[in-house]
């Protein structure tokens, strides 16, 4: 008997399904602080300043330009909103980058060539055509992997990942085709041409993306929480077999959900073309991977993503400012900071999902309980 007991490992790990919200939030906050401490120590070694001046620089740097901070948050949020329904379904859509990029490309194509062919075109009509074109192309990019996933169970992670690179190279091709100077950049489209296809200014150029991101978030919140579609998505994510037994057409749900993601990416691509960059280049859509981290961090909850996307943008902006302030000659410091803090958050997720039970103590308490019972008798 004693031999078997000695062989038992010191602890074992069990699933912890019923953790309170407060506790899980607490664990995450501890992880973020642990990450910040490591970042501070790293900064101390690399920069030679004390950690507190680094933290305060980070804080100051993030809030120097509040509007840009908010706009970047809104952009990251929209990318995240576009991917969460798929993620909720456990469909790993890594292709938001590419979907937004081709959407933007389609918008720019309309913007560049329609006013040349039809000089009389009204701006609102042009904008509408751009939006529709962007959504259609973006949907093609997201639905093709969905169709193959639904009918042939093609690995969607790899497929959507590859679609990103097909998008990047396609954009490269068109940019070189349209731009005959050979510079490889398109420049600002229609800058000197009455700014056709540009969104009218709302008085504040940052406002439009922020407003649209809030509308998208609200829509997605309602869609996921209060509609039959949202329920079906959650059920397919939980268990495909259960969903089949209940009579849900899983194929339809997969394709429909990715179509929704494509529409959101299309809107975002249109925003880039008409309001943010007025051009297309390979940097557009670069937020897609960060958005995956943000969506995951928010546990695929659209409202929680308001906070996580703000947090990540805050980290990035702040740490970029550190490298300017302390003359590191490198903006890549922010990648290191974001990476380290994410590692801590990823690691802490373990302590939320599982709990560690120490076997030794467990036995002792059992024994003492038995003893107590005996004594009681």
């Amino acid at each position: 008997m004693s031999k078997i007991e000695r062989r038992e490992p010191l602890f074992h790990i069990v699933k912890n399904d019923a953790i309170s919200f407060g506790k899980s939030l607490g664990i995450r906050i501890i992880a973020i602080f642990a990450g910040l401490i490591v970042v501070g120590i790293l900064g101390m070694i690399l920069i030679g300043e004390n950690p507190f001046s680094i933290y305060s620089a980070m804080f100051d740097g993030a809030f120097i330009d509040v509007w840009t901070l908010l706009q970047n948050t809104a952009l990251l949020l929209m990318f995240g909103i576009a991917v969460i329904p798929a993620f909720q379904m456990k469909f790993w859509n890594l292709g938001a980058n590419g979907q937004v990029l081709v959407g933007c490309l389609a918008s720019i194509a309309c913007m560049k060539f329609l006013p040349v062919k039809f000089p009389q075109i009204q701006n609102w009509l042009l904008l509408l055509i751009m939006l529709v074109a962007s959504i259609i192309v973006s949907c093609i990019w997201s639905v093709v992997p969905a169709i193959f996933k639904a009918f042939f169970n093609t690995n969607e992670t790899l497929f959507t990942l590859m679609m990103n690179y097909i998008a990047l190279t396609t954009v490269d091709y068109f940019v070189f085709t349209w731009d005959k100077t050979g510079s490889g950049t398109l420049g600002i489209v229609n800058l000197l041409n009455g700014q056709k296809g540009w969104m009218p200014d709302l008085g504040n150029k940052y406002l439009l993306p922020i407003i649209i991101s809030i509308i998208m978030t609200a829509f997605m919140f309602v869609y996921m929480k209060f509609t039959k579609h949202g329920f079906e998505v959650a059920l397919v994510g939980e268990s495909v077999n259960t969903a089949k037994y209940v009579g849900i057409n899983v194929k339809k749900v997969i394709i429909r959900t990715l179509l929704l993601g494509g529409i959101f990416c299309g809107i975002l691509g249109f925003l880039y073309a008409s309001c943010l960059s007025h051009t297309v280049n390979q940097q557009i859509g670069g937020l897609g991977f960060t958005a995956i981290l943000v969506a995951w961090l928010a546990n695929f909850d659209s409202v929680a993503m308001l906070f996580t996307s703000f947090f990540v943008v805050f980290l990035e902006t702040g740490s970029k400012f550190i490298s300017t302030k302390f003359q590191l000659n490198s903006t890549d410091y922010s990648n290191i900071v974001v990476g380290i803090i994410f590692f801590f958050i990823i690691a802490c997720e373990f302590f939320i999902r599982f709990k560690i039970q120490i076997n030794h103590q467990h036995q002792k308490t059992e024994k003492s309980e038995i003893n107590a019972e005996k004594e009681g008798n």
Partner: protein
């Protein structure tokens, strides 16, 4: 012309081959490591550190050896971090991998900018190139087979060893069974975690060599901080699929991918936009292979069945 295309295709392909063979080992253990681009960057940084520390102080073969050791060490550490997070802590593999890539790119650019000295690195790059000293020989056979740097040959040897290991050895069978169904492997008595740790770390170390090869051999030490190693890393991930998880096929595939990615630089007579179209082909090819393997359900060409899923023993 043709000879020079083939020679350059082989050399370019070597970057992808290292990353690809490393990723094959990882994926055979059931883990989709999207951190490979970052790991290649971290490996390149390790190599740069070694060159910075030992360059000019030791003989060239020793320098190459040290660079390889440093590269593998740095990359293995990154791989170990990934395995700790995804195997022991059961973290989501996609998220962990993408974070590692973000971190790795920042890591390379930040640190290599501080130690990089172009003249110094270029002068030392000859140690890595041209193993047999036959680079000037114009015989096509010599050019294609004997004119490369040592890392090109290492890449091919590693690919062959991996192929033999995976298909002919008992341990290779165990590894494949873990990628297919870890619960079954566990029930048979295979130490699942140990295998996963070993092969994810080893795979990362191999992938890291791709980064070293690029900075010291392919680019000849001319660029480190701005090297586009991450985009090569994604190409390597694509090659894993295109080669249907077979290291030997990957060796040939790497030459095809390498050829397609240098073709635009070779066909300078074509207009610029026509050149650019070749860059799409590797990814299109990958998607086609991915679709075909899933439509034609040939069980020899499938991705590992439990790819991307973490294994928790108490969950059945």
């Amino acid at each position: 012309m043709l000879t020079s295309v083939i020679v350059n295709a082989i050399r370019m392909g070597t970057i992808f081959l290292f990353g690809c063979v490393g990723e094959i080992l990882t994926e055979k253990a059931g883990h989709l490591n999207l951190g490979i681009p970052g790991i290649m960057c971290i490996g390149a940084t390790g190599g740069a550190v070694a060159v910075h520390l030992f360059g000019g102080k030791v003989s060239s073969p020793l320098l190459v050896l040290f660079a390889i050791i440093f590269t593998m060490l740095f990359a293995a550490l990154a791989g170990f971090l990934y395995s700790f997070l995804t195997v022991t802590l059961q973290a989501n593999q996609n998220v962990t991998g993408l974070t590692l890539t973000t971190f790795g790119i920042g890591f390379m650019k930040f640190f290599s900018k501080r130690i990089y000295d172009q003249k110094f690195f270029v002068s030392l790059s000859s140690a890595f190139k041209n193993l047999f000293g036959l680079e000037k020989n114009t015989n096509p056979f010599v050019q294609i087979f004997l004119s490369h740097g040592i890392l090109v040959y290492i890449a091919i040897i590693v690919a062959i060893i991996c192929a033999v290991f995976l298909n002919k050895s008992r341990r290779g069978l165990y590894l494949r069974s873990i990628g297919e169904n870890p619960a079954t492997a566990d029930a048979v008595g295979i130490n699942v975690s140990l295998y996963k740790y070993t092969f994810i770390t080893l795979g990362s170390a191999i992938a890291g060599l791709g980064g070293l090869y690029y900075i010291m051999d392919r680019s000849g030490g001319t660029q480190i901080a701005e090297a586009p190693i991450d985009s090569f890393g994604w190409m390597a991930v694509a090659l894993v699929i295109a080669s249907m998880w077979k290291p030997l096929l990957a060796a040939f595939g790497s030459i095809v991918f390498g050829g397609l990615s240098i073709l635009d630089a070779m066909l300078t007579t074509l207009p610029l936009d026509k050149q650019k179209i070749f860059a799409i082909f590797p990814y299109l090819l990958t998607v086609l292979v991915l679709i075909m393997t899933s439509v034609v359900k040939n069980k020899n060409n499938q991705p590992p069945a439990s790819l991307g899923l973490s294994y928790f023993r108490e969950e059945r």
